[in-house]
């Protein structure tokens, strides 16, 4: 009996050592997943995309029934907005043509605004909610690469955390921290110069993103739009992230911190777009000067 107990203790200790080893292995910054992990992701992903079809159907039907209640009011509002948009469309067309002409004059064809979309569906969400991750049904074979931005029609939702051949994992903005910051600017109407800053994290309680502004005396107002600036070198320029909710001085009073309400809804995600930045990334343009930072 004593021997048996010692054996049991031994197994548990070995298990603990394996646990610590595996945690250390996975917390490292890895470039890509091992073949075994990719295989597992794809196999489970295949089942998930099958199971997801009926589930998505039911949740959409229930969601639609909820929406029907507000149809009349929404219709009124939309009708009144429609006229404004007609003018806007005309203006945008003019501006776009101007922009193209001017660009062709200076011979600049590449821009950090350019992006190529890859359509994808969300097939699963991590049941462990401390990991803000979702899985999508597009992988390396479809052109998805690590660190690409992921958006919905409403705004940015996150970035690609890792990829396997036929599926990939997306880290949502609500799981961002200081190690994956986004360079942004605030699109302000009053101030000529756009105010820049970094999204440095997420605040769980009020569900806001934390934006650290580079200046300390800005006069930003509630409701102004926060857009990715493309200067970080990873994401394209002009992805909508959210609107400013509140601005407070930071802990030491040196800069300002803004609370940003994300535009996209992270709870209900069905169809997303992975955007591939067309402009070369700074690491690849050796010897050239890159417009980076201030």
């Amino acid at each position: 009996m004593a021997f048996f107990r010692r054996k049991r203790l031994f197994i548990i200790l070995v298990g603990f050592i394996i646990l610590v080893g595996l945690i250390g292995f996975s917390l490292r910054d890895r470039e890509e997943l091992s073949t075994f992990e990719q295989f597992l992701h794809d196999t489970v992903g295949w089942f998930q995309s099958i199971v997801n079809v009926p589930v998505e159907f039911t949740t959409t039907v229930i969601g639609n029934i909820d929406d029907i209640k507000n149809v009349y009011q929404e219709n009124q509002v939309l009708k009144s907005r429609l006229n404004e948009y007609k003018n806007l469309v005309y203006e945008v067309q003019e501006l776009r043509r101007d922009n193209e002409e001017l660009r062709s004059i200076i011979g600049k064809t590449e821009s950090i605004n350019d992006m190529q979309p890859i359509q994808a569906s969300v097939i699963a969400r991590s049941p462990e909610q401390w990991f803000e991750q979702v899985k999508i049904n597009r992988g390396e074979q479809h052109g998805v690469k690590k660190n690409m931005a992921v958006i919905t029609g409403e705004g940015m939702i996150g970035k690609v955390l890792n990829t396997s051949q036929f599926s990939s994992t997306v880290l949502l903005l609500s799981g961002f921290d200081r190690s994956n910051r986004i360079s942004v600017y605030v699109n302000s109407e009053k101030i000529n110069d756009n105010v820049s800053g970094f999204i440095v994290g997420y605040e769980e309680k009020e569900e806001n993103l934390l934006l650290e502004l580079n200046e300390y005396d800005t006069e930003l107002k509630k409701g102004e739009l926060v857009v990715s600036s493309g200067l970080g070198g990873v994401f394209p320029k002009g992805l909508e992230i959210g609107t400013i909710k509140e601005i407070v001085p930071d802990k030491y009073g040196l800069t300002q911190v803004a609370y940003v309400k994300p535009s996209a809804d992270f709870e209900k995600l069905n169809h997303v777009i992975v955007v591939k930045r067309m402009a070369q990334q700074p690491e690849q343009t050796e010897g050239q000067t890159v417009e980076e930072g201030e």
């Binding site: 548990i12 298990g15 603990f16 394996i18 646990l19 080893g21 595996l22 945690i23 292995f25 996975s26 917390l27 992990e37 597992l40 992701h41 489970v44 089942f47 998930q48 199971v51 997801n52 589930v55 998505e56 949740t59 097939i123 699963a124 969400r125 991590s126 049941p127 462990e128 909610q129 401390w130 990991f131 991750q133 899985k135 955390l161 890792n162 994992t169 769980e204 309680k205 709870e267 209900k268």
Partner: protein, 177 residues
Amino acid sequence: MHRFYLPFLLLMTIVVEGVATDLLPRSVMAQEWMIIPHWLLVFLVLITVFFDLEDTYFSVLYAILFGLMIDIVYTSVIGVYMFIYAIVIYIIHGLRKMLHANFFVALSLTILAILLADSGLYIIYFFIGISPLLWDEYIVTRLLPTLVANIAFFALLYPFTKNRLVHWSLQQFDYKK
């Protein structure tokens, strides 16, 4: 053939866990609660109670295999679920030897397993710095809602699986009751 039913069902449980949060109504999701589906664990407890014999450790083996699968597919830290699920199922397996296999035993062992497993997960994730919560916050916002939700799942799963598991156990180990 019946040897493949259990692994397949366990795999499907993991797959369905991925869409579990979509099935919850929005009013529940809007709360601060975190509801974690430990469906695999509930299923494994049922396997321990109704399928495994005293000297067979299929449930522990499945806990290691499918725990590792959850780690790889759903989290970015490998090994945590594998370790916790295996240890908890091993404890449950030890306790089961002293008790009869019936509904109330299965229910109380499930409750115990969920409490042990989820707090174990919390402790490990807290030490690696993934969980931001403090102990008392954790109990209110995560442990209790998770426990209630998983007991509901247990009540749903029990009538469908109990007789089948006993039946498969008879087939596989070929013993006379």
